[in-house]
Amino acid sequence: MEVETAVSFRPGELEVDSSGAGHLLGSRCASCGAHFFPVRQACAGCLGTDLEAVRLSTTGTLYTFSIVRQSTPEFEVPYALGYVDFSEGVRIMGQISGCDLEDIWIGMQLSLSVEPFGEDEDGNQLSGYRFRPTEAGSGGGS
């Protein structure tokens, strides 16, 4: 499949590589090890300022969710919105895709998925992220 160069909708938070895969970007405190999303300039745990940029893990657990049925014009409703907990100790909000809205449950495993997500001012397609159910055993997703 021919892949055009994907452009992240928010390069400070989502890094997208040429294969179309990606990572969410956060900060790790060099002093106490705490992780943050999005990138911070100082650590809220120890107030240390020695923070390094890190790629966050891509699989997490759904803490809670809602089906949003009224939103702003740029989002087509309904969509599933959830908070996903990652092993680094960060909780990240995102939409949930790749399954029926009725098949979402607290505690399910979800994986980061880079997907078309709006356009820039010139009408070029942007890449954003959603979370998809992790396929049993493979940890992959499609």
């Binding site: 803490y63 809602s66 949003v68 909000m93 954003g128």
Partner: protein, 380 residues
């Protein structure tokens, strides 16, 4: 250090005001508060004005309408706590000894600025992925149901109670009581929340006149209520994911306020809390320490939070019934508590109320547990 006293309160009708703007509404509320205080407007030394979306120098536009020129005036933005923060700033100016008579105004003409669901600021990473305020509270509701077994019907009893109270409040946005069935059958907004679970888009304003000991003695009008504490905190950054079914921010702010006022949760006779959504009332009253965590839904079922119950919550109708003009909200809560403590509210009166609390909590930003929270303690 001087105590802080409220001698005058004013409030517009809450609802849709297509023929006015935020400064018209603010001026109406301010003039009523000054008249209620029974003072000459020239006695006012400084002003604070809370609003969110009304643009530059809204407070100056209000003062210009009422002829008060030249005062030090500060416009305050703190999301849904903007008006409450204006009151806190006014109280600090009194406590610092800088002024003796200060007004705080909260105003919003929201129908001309917003339609539908409010969202965090567009720069926020959560807004960028589709966060709406109803969506965020709906997620907290679902988690609360999972952890504490609250049913959808129990949650619906909160809008039923608050719109029932609003029906007794001539200034409220909604004046018609509703049933559990009507809540459950209203339009879905963000599952499990429906339209009746949400506070409306409202225009309105409120104002208070606060004074030092010295001024309160000089202008004594027999209706003085003491602002025993006015606490403010902003949300702390999550170092690790924390529970979304409890509110450390509300509890920390409440603790500050209770300590300053020298009271505890057991001393409180009524509370106006920030019920922007039905689930929010649950989280607020438990965060304030007024009900044990997980217990509020059954307490509501037993009528404990009704006017006439063990601890009336939102006798004014709350944000859900009275309406939620962002900047106006926190000041209107204080207006309601003052009028309750004075015994002026007719058939929604909480009998014998001596101590009341007003709680506001507003705003959303990625990675913090709430943005701005205020807790004010009023004593008669």
């Amino acid at each position: 250090m001087t105590d802080v006293h409220i001698l005058g309160v004013g409030m517009t009708r809450f609802g849709r005001h297509p023929d006015s703007d935020a400064s018209d509404l603010g001026a109406e509320a301010l003039l009523e508060a000054i008249a209620d205080a029974e003072i000459d407007a020239r006695a006012v030394e400084a002003a604070y004005c809370g609003h969110v979306f009304q643009g530059m120098v809204t407070g100056q536009r209000i003062l210009a309408q009422v002829g008060l020129a030249g005062l030090p005036l500060t416009n305050v933005e703190n999301a849904c706590s903007s008006g409450a923060t204006a009151i806190r700033e006014a109280s600090l100016a009194i406590r610092a000894g800088e002024h003796d008579v200060v007004v705080a105004i909260g105003t919003e003409h929201l129908t001309s600025r917003f339609r539908g669901a409010l969202t965090p600021d567009p720069s926020d990473p959560e807004a960028a992925v589709g966060a709406t305020m109803p969506g965020v509270y709906a997620m907290r509701a679902r988690r609360y149901m999972e952890e504490f077994g609250m049913t959808r019907e129990q949650l619906a009893l909160i809008p039923v109670k608050n719109k029932g109270n609003a029906a007794r409040n001539p200034l409220a946005h909604f004046r018609t009581p509703i049933t559990v069935e009507e809540v459950l059958e209203s339009r879905p907004i963000a599952d499990p929340l429906n339209l009746h679970d949400c506070s409306p888009v409202t225009d309105g304003a409120a104002a208070v006149v606060v004074m030092s000991d010295r001024a309160a003695g000089r202008f004594a009008n027999g209706r003085t209520v003491r602002l025993a504490a006015s606490a403010l905190r902003s949300g702390s950054v999550d170092v690790e994911p924390t529970s979304m079914t409890f509110e450390p921010l509300t509890w920390a702010t409440a603790r500050d306020a209770y300590e300053k006022a020298g009271i505890g949760p057991d001393d409180i006779d009524l509370a106006e809390v920030h019920d922007c959504f039905s689930i929010a009332e649950v989280l607020r009253v438990e965060g304030l320490g007024l009900f044990e965590q997980g217990s509020y839904p059954t307490a509501v079922e037993r009528g404990e939070a009704d006017i006439g119950g063990r601890l009336p919550i939102n006798p004014s109708g709350g944000l859900i019934g009275k309406g939620h003009p962002l900047g106006g909200t926190g000041v209107a809560q204080v207006v309601e508590v003052v009028r309750q403590l004075r015994g002026e509210v007719g058939d929604r009166q909480v009998e014998g109320a001596k101590v009341g609390v007003a709680h506001c909590r507003g705003g959303k930003a990625v990675g913090i547990e709430g943005a701005a929270c205020t807790v004010q303690v009023l004593v008669r």
